[in-house]
Symmetry: C2
Subunit: 308 residues, 2 copies
């Protein structure tokens, strides 16, 4: 048995994962980001100990996916978005207090590993997973292992430029993919289209400009609204541009699309497939399989449990 | 001893490579693209046999880099730019006629392997090499092996989009990197600037619009010409955008820049380094080493010789 932990800004979700990569027990606690790093580490250690008891203490390892960067050599957290973990030796503390070997990695990486080992890409060994959320996350798996690059920071597809003179990104670049293909970008495009189209059904569907969300334009499109369809088309065009880039660069066995937006199903996947199949550079019969992530939030737990 | 062959549109260059990855003997023949595939195959086999004699027949393997795509499973050439090789079993014929195991791969891939094993990136195992020529070539080496992707076509950095609404590419996409960062693109930008600037020193340096080449704008810049400097700045801005994308996606140990343009040395490398260091996404001390290719045309021979 192994333990996998998905450490997010709202909750710390732990799962006990068996040899068939099934989660046999789950437990979650709120992420206490208010009372300092020692308290948070103590909370996580307590959670691990409780989950380990369910396996009669027979736990081989614990893996943690975090929304941040980890030093690939020491296992120490370098940076963690809004969570106080960067200045403590979390790996060392967990190992000392629980006696279980601990491994930490980026959350997009472990989700990709989960989908490759037990989810949408379980028939493959090489895959790239793109998670469309507030930003655009990416995990690269090669030969069933996370590809980290020389410094643990590989896979920043969200910060590859698709418009040289494009929008300014907080990272310092211009035209980053996530400024055009994240849910944040979709909501921005939706609100811009609403302001330009006072008669659009998006107004009725959202209720107000402030309430417009990532589903508004899709729902409007399905209700026959032209402005809604134009937003969806624009978003898909940008998203496809970056996804074809991923295919042309990696030619992965599978390209996995995750995040809440993947709930749009074929409304999203059909046009994406059409553009990717038309624009990809490779000749020949073998091509990347384009799939929607299957494990949802469990991908992080399953993937983290298999870190080593 | 191993034989490496660089098969180009003008010549077939063969080298005998020793265990220290030094070329101890070289021979070249013109590439006969006029008299059919059987004749060309016969020429190549004759060349291999002559080079093998210099090693007293003690040759472990022969590797060939071609400007095209190879089926990663069968070793057959799927596509070869302007050279009649796609419809024959070149690997099989060579093995039957010479008795030496034969391996074929893309020329950008083998050049990258050569630079990693014996050239500019010889202290590293993971590197991405970008070759700026008529197009933009790319070879990805991971753990001292060429990364091929699921179908042998990985690494088409030249066809990753950096301008969603950009120029139309022959590949079917818009805004491909090589339309902005190849020597072909540089010459186009140079000629456009000459037409817009009748007083530019580029006219005197080139002699005429038709004679303007990849060096014209650099020479003009060094002679104090503002229009020439503007061309160089524009070209470097686009090139850097794609190179930062490579760094943010791969975080390779080394980013190798090859092709004739790399002869501009620090005039090219200094501004590229400045932009890449400013814009790359990774935190921490370990970063990609940005280097100029060292082996020139020999990279293809050395890299090809190490295919297996």
């Amino acid at each position: 048995m192994k333990i996998g932990i998905d450490l997010g800004g709202m909750s710390v979700k732990a799962g006990l994962v068996n040899d068939d990569l099934k989660i046999v027990y789950k437990e979650a606690i709120p992420t206490d980001i208010e009372n300092g790093k020692e308290k948070l580490a103590k909370d996580i250690i307590g959670l691990i100990n409780r989950v380990a008891e369910k396996a009669d203490g027979k736990v081989e390892s614990v893996g943690i996916g975090i929304p941040g960067d980890v030093d690939k050599f020491t296992g120490r957290v370098i940076y963690c978005n809004n969570i106080p973990l960067a200045d403590i030796d979390l790996k060392g503390e967990i190992e000392r207090e629980t006696g279980i070997p601990c491994f930490i990695n980026n959350d997009a990486n472990v989700a990709a590993l989960g989908e490759v080992l037990a989810g949408a890409a379980k028939n493959y060994k090489d895959a790239v997973m793109i998670t469309i959320g507030t930003g655009v996350g990416c995990g690269i798996v090669m030969d069933n292992e996370i590809y980290l690059g020389c410094n643990g920071a590989a896979g920043e597809i969200g910060h590859h430029c698709i418009e040289v003179d494009g929008l300014k990104c907080a990272c310092g670049r211009q035209g980053c993919f996530e400024l055009y293909a994240s849910v944040t970008a979709l909501i921005r495009m939706t609100r811009e289209a609403m302001e330009q189209n006072p008669d659009s059904k998006m107004w009725e569907i959202a209720g107000s400009l402030e309430k417009a969300g990532g589903k508004t334009s899709w729902d409007a499109m399905r209700a026959g609204d032209a402005a809604g369809k134009a937003v969806v088309d624009k978003f898909i065009r940008y998203l496809a541009a970056g996804l074809v880039n991923v295919v042309n660069i990696f030619q992965p066995e599978a390209l996995i699309i995750g995040g809440g937006i993947s709930k749009e199903g074929e409304y999203l996947l059909a046009p994406l497939r059409e553009i990717i199949c038309r624009e990809r550079y490779s000749r020949g019969k073998i091509q990347a399989d384009i799939v929607i992530a299957e494990l949802g939030n469990d991908a992080g737990i399953v993937g983290a449990s298999q870190l080593c």
